[in-house]
Amino acid sequence: MPKGAGWRVSLIIVFVLLSCLYLTPTLFAKLPSWWSGLMPKDRIHLGLDLQGGTHLVLEVDTQKAVEGSLDLVATDLEDTLNAKNLRFKRISRSGSEKVQLLLYEKGTAEAVQKLLKDKYPGYEQSPLHDDGGFVALTLRMPEELAKDRKDKSVVQALETIRNRIDQFGVSEPTIQREGINNIVVQLPGIKDPKRAIDLIGKTARLEFKMVREDVPPGSAVIPEDAELLKERIVDPTTGAVSEAPFVVQKKTIITGDLLTDAQVRIDSQFNQPYVAIEFNSLGSKLFDQVTATNVGKRFAIVLDGNVYSAPVIRERISGGSAQISGNFTEKTAADLAIVLRAGALPAPVKVIQNETVGPSLGQDSINKGLYAGLFGVLLVIIFMAVYYKLSGMVANIGMVLNVVYLMGALAALGATLTLPGIAAIVLLVGMSVDSNVLIFERIKEELRLGRSPRAALDAGYDKAFLSIFDSHVTTLITAAVLFQFGTGPVKGFAVSLSLGVIINLFTALIATRVTFDMFMHKGTVKKMSI
C-alpha cells in the first residue's frame, strides 16, 4: 500500500459503516430486537410534500396575554382593597398596558399608593389626578414584564398545543416556535385536517359566570359590571342556527384553570353526549360556596365568549364535579374534552399559514421524484464511464459514496427529506462529478505535456484543489443563507445541499484520490485510462 493510504482507506470504510448504521432505521421499518440501547434510532423523515399532511403557522396574539394578566391584577386589587376596607369606585384595565383605579377620597388613595408599591414593586404609578370628581390613579405594567409575559405566553401556548395534539393522536408531529410570536405545527399523514385545526386553534377559555336575572337580555343599557353573551342554538331537526342572548356578571367565578379532568359521557335519557368535568380542591371549594349561596339562580358556562349552557342551581354541589352540555356530536364533545384537559391557551392564536397536501399527491410525487432522480444519476454514471473510462468509474464510485454518506448524514440528523431535497441530491450528483471533471481535465493536460501518469495525477490534484475549494465555498455560502432564511421545503433543500457540499469535498479530495494512489503507487502504470 502507498504511504498514507491506510488511514484514508480506513476513514472511508468507517464512514460507509457509520452511514449504513444510521440508515438502518430508515430502511427497515421493523428493527430487530437486539437493535437497542446505543444504536441510532433517528430516521430520515419525509416532508409533508412527500407523505401528505398539514403544515400550520399560528400567530399568538401576545397582546391579549398581557391584557389577561392586567385583568387578573385588576381583580386581585379589587379583592385586596375590599379585604382592607379601602373604598373605591372602580378598578379596571384601561388600554393594553394599564390598570386604572378610581377612588373616592385622597386619604384612601394615599394608602392605596403605598399598598401598590409593596404589592407590585416593578409597576409604574402615575401621580394622583382628578377624574370627574374622583381621585384617579393608573398602574402601568413595565415594558420588561410585558415582554416576559408575551414570551411566556408563546411558550405556554406551544406546550398546550403539544398537549392537545398528543391527546388527539398524531404520529411524529413537529411543534416548534418560530420567530417571536409564531408557532409552526406539522402534522404528517393527518386524515381530517379541518378538525385538527379547530382543535389546535381553540383558545378554550372556560369560565363560569352568574346570570344577571335582574337585567332583561334585550335591554339597551347593560350595567358596567355585566356583559352580553350569546348562546348558539342549533335546531336538531332543521339545522337552523339561532342565538339566545344572556346578560351575565363580568366577574368570573371559576375558570378552566381549576379543572383536573374532563371526559365525554353520554346522557342516558336523551342519548346526547356531554362533557363531565372535575374541579381541583380549590375549584371544588369555590363551586361549593357559589352553589350554596346562589340556589335557585342560574350560572352560565362560557367557552371562548360563547355560552354553552346556563343551568339553574338546584342545590348546593359539593362533590367538585359538573357537566357541560350543549349541542354536541360525539366528535365535538371529544374535542372539547381534549382542549379542557390540555388547558386553555394563554392568548388566542390565529392560523396565518395552512398548507395541506393529500396523501395521494405525496405518493405520486415521491415516486416520480425518486424515479427521475435515479434516472439522472444513471445518465451521469454512463456518461462518465464512457467519457473517462476507468477514471470515470473511479469518479462514479466517489459519487455513490457521496450519496451514501449524504443519506447517512441526513438519517443521523433526523433530517426531513422534501422534494426539493431530492432535487438537491440530484444536483449534488452533478456537482460531485464536477470536481472530478476538473481534476481529470487537469490530468489530461499534464499528460499532453508529456508527464508520466503518476506525475500527471499529482499535478492534476494539486492544481485543481484551489478551484474545487473556491467553488465549494461559494455554494456553501448560498446554502447557509437558504438555511437561515428558508422555511419548510427550502430548508430541506439547504440542508441537503450544504451537507452534500461538505461531503463532496471529502470524497473528491480523499476518496477518489486514494483509489488512484492504490492503482498507481508502484509506478508501473504506463498509460492512464482517462
Binding site: 395521494s360 421524484g369 426539493p420 471533471v437 484551489l466
Partner: protein, 308 residues
C-alpha cells in the same frame, strides 16, 4: 474520448455579439423584476398571500365551466390553471376572495360539489397564507438574496481582484435576470421554490466562473508579457472542455428531473435547467470579457497619464 482537442477560439473577440445578446436578456430580466416588484407577474401565493387549492377530478373539466361555476357561487376573482396529466385543476384565490363565504377551501368544495354532482373530485393539496406572512416572506427572501450575494462578492473579492469580483457579480446577476426573464415571459409562477432555484444557480454560476478565473489568474502569473486579451482567451480555451462537461453532467441530472420529476418540481427543475445553461454561457462570454474591458480601460488610463 474527447469532445474538444486543443481549441483556439477567440471568445473575447466575439464579446460585442455576446454583450448584445446579454443586453437583451438583462433588459427583459429587469422588466420582469419590475413587474414582480409591482405584483404584476404571476406571483405564487407564498408571496402574495391567499389560497391555492389543487383538485383532482374523476372526469375532464373545462376551465371555462369551472370559472362559471365559481362565479355563480360568489367567487368572481379566481386564477385557474389546468395541470396536464390526470384532470387536475389548480385554483388560486387572493386574500379577499370568498372572505364572506367562510373558509375558502370549504367554499370551493361546496361550489364544485353543487355544480358538478356527477364529477367527483378530491382535494390533493391546499395552501392558505395570510397577508402578514406573505409580507414577511417577501422581506426575508429579499434579505436572504442580498446577504447571499454580498457574501459571495466579498469572498471573490478576497480571493481574486476587485475587477474579477465585478465580473463575477455581473455574470451572476445576468444569470438570475435571465431566469426571471424566461419565467416572466412564459408567465410561470414566481414562488419560494423559484427563489431557491435562483440562489442555487447564483452559487453554481459563480463556481463555474471561479474555475475560469482561477485559470486566468494562474496564466497571468506565468506570462507577464502577453496582452490580457490573449491570456484570457487562452485560459478560457484551456478550461473549455471542463466547463462544457460539468455543465453537461449537471444538465443531464436536472433534465431528468424536468422531464420525469412530476408537476411539483417541474417548474423548479426548469428554472435550474435555464440557469445551468445560461450560467455556462455567462462564465465564458460575460464574466471574462468584462474583466478584459475593465483591464483595458485601466491600461488606457495609465497610458494617458504616462503621456501627460
Amino acid at each position: 474520448m474527447e469532445f474538444f482537442g486543443k481549441t483556439n477560439i477567440d471568445f473575447i473577440g466575439r464579446r460585442k455579439i455576446a454583450f448584445a445578446i446579454s443586453a437583451v436578456i438583462v433588459v427583459l430580466g429587469i422588466i420582469g423584476v419590475i413587474q414582480i416588484a409591482r405584483g404584476a407577474a404571476n406571483m405564487g401565493i407564498d408571496f402574495s398571500g391567499g389560497t391555492s387549492i389543487q383538485l383532482k377530478f374523476d372526469k375532464p373539466l373545462a376551465i371555462a365551466e369551472a370559472r362559471t361555476a365559481l362565479a355563480k357561487g360568489g367567487i368572481a376573482k379566481a386564477d385557474l390553471q389546468e395541470i396536464k396529466d390526470g384532470n387536475k385543476l389548480l385554483i388560486k384565490l387572493d386574500n379577499n376572495a370568498g372572505s364572506s363565504l367562510g373558509k375558502p377551501v370549504a367554499a370551493v368544495e361546496t361550489i364544485f360539489k353543487q355544480a358538478f354532482p356527477d364529477n367527483g373530485f378530491m382535494v390533493e393539496s391546499s395552501t392558505e397564507i395570510g397577508p402578514s406572512i406573505g409580507d414577511k416572506l417577501r422581506k426575508d427572501t429579499l434579505t436572504a438574496v442580498a446577504i447571499a450575494l454580498c457574501g459571495i462578492v466579498l469572498y471573490i473579492a478576497w480571493r481574486f481582484d476587485f475587477k474579477f469580483g465585478i465580473g463575477a457579480v455581473i455574470a451572476t446577476a445576468h444569470d438570475c435576470l435571465a431566469m426571471v426573464a424566461v419565467f416572466y415571459l412564459l408567465n410561470k409562477e414566481i414562488n419560494l421554490l423559484f427563489i431557491t432555484a435562483l440562489l442555487t444557480i447564483a452559487g453554481y454560476s459563480l463556481s463555474d466562473t471561479v474555475v475560469v478565473f482561477d485559470r486566468i489568474r494562474e496564466n497571468l502569473h506565468k506570462d507577464m508579457k502577453s496582452a490580457a486579451h490573449t491570456i484570457f482567451n487562452q485560459s478560457i480555451n484551456e478550461v473549455l472542455s471542463r466547463t462544457v462537461i460539468t455543465s453537461l453532467t449537471t444538465v443531464l441530472a436536472a433534465a431528468s428531473l424536468f422531464f420525469l420529476g412530476g408537476e411539483v418540481i417541474h417548474d423548479f427543475s426548469m428554472a435550474l435547467l435555464i440557469g445551468l445553461l445560461v450560467g455556462t454561457y455567462s462564465s465564458i462570454f460575460v464574466a471574462s470579457p468584462i474583466v478584459v474591458v475593465l483591464e483595458q480601460r485601466r491600461q488606457k488610463k495609465l497610458a494617458a497619464i504616462g503621456k501627460a
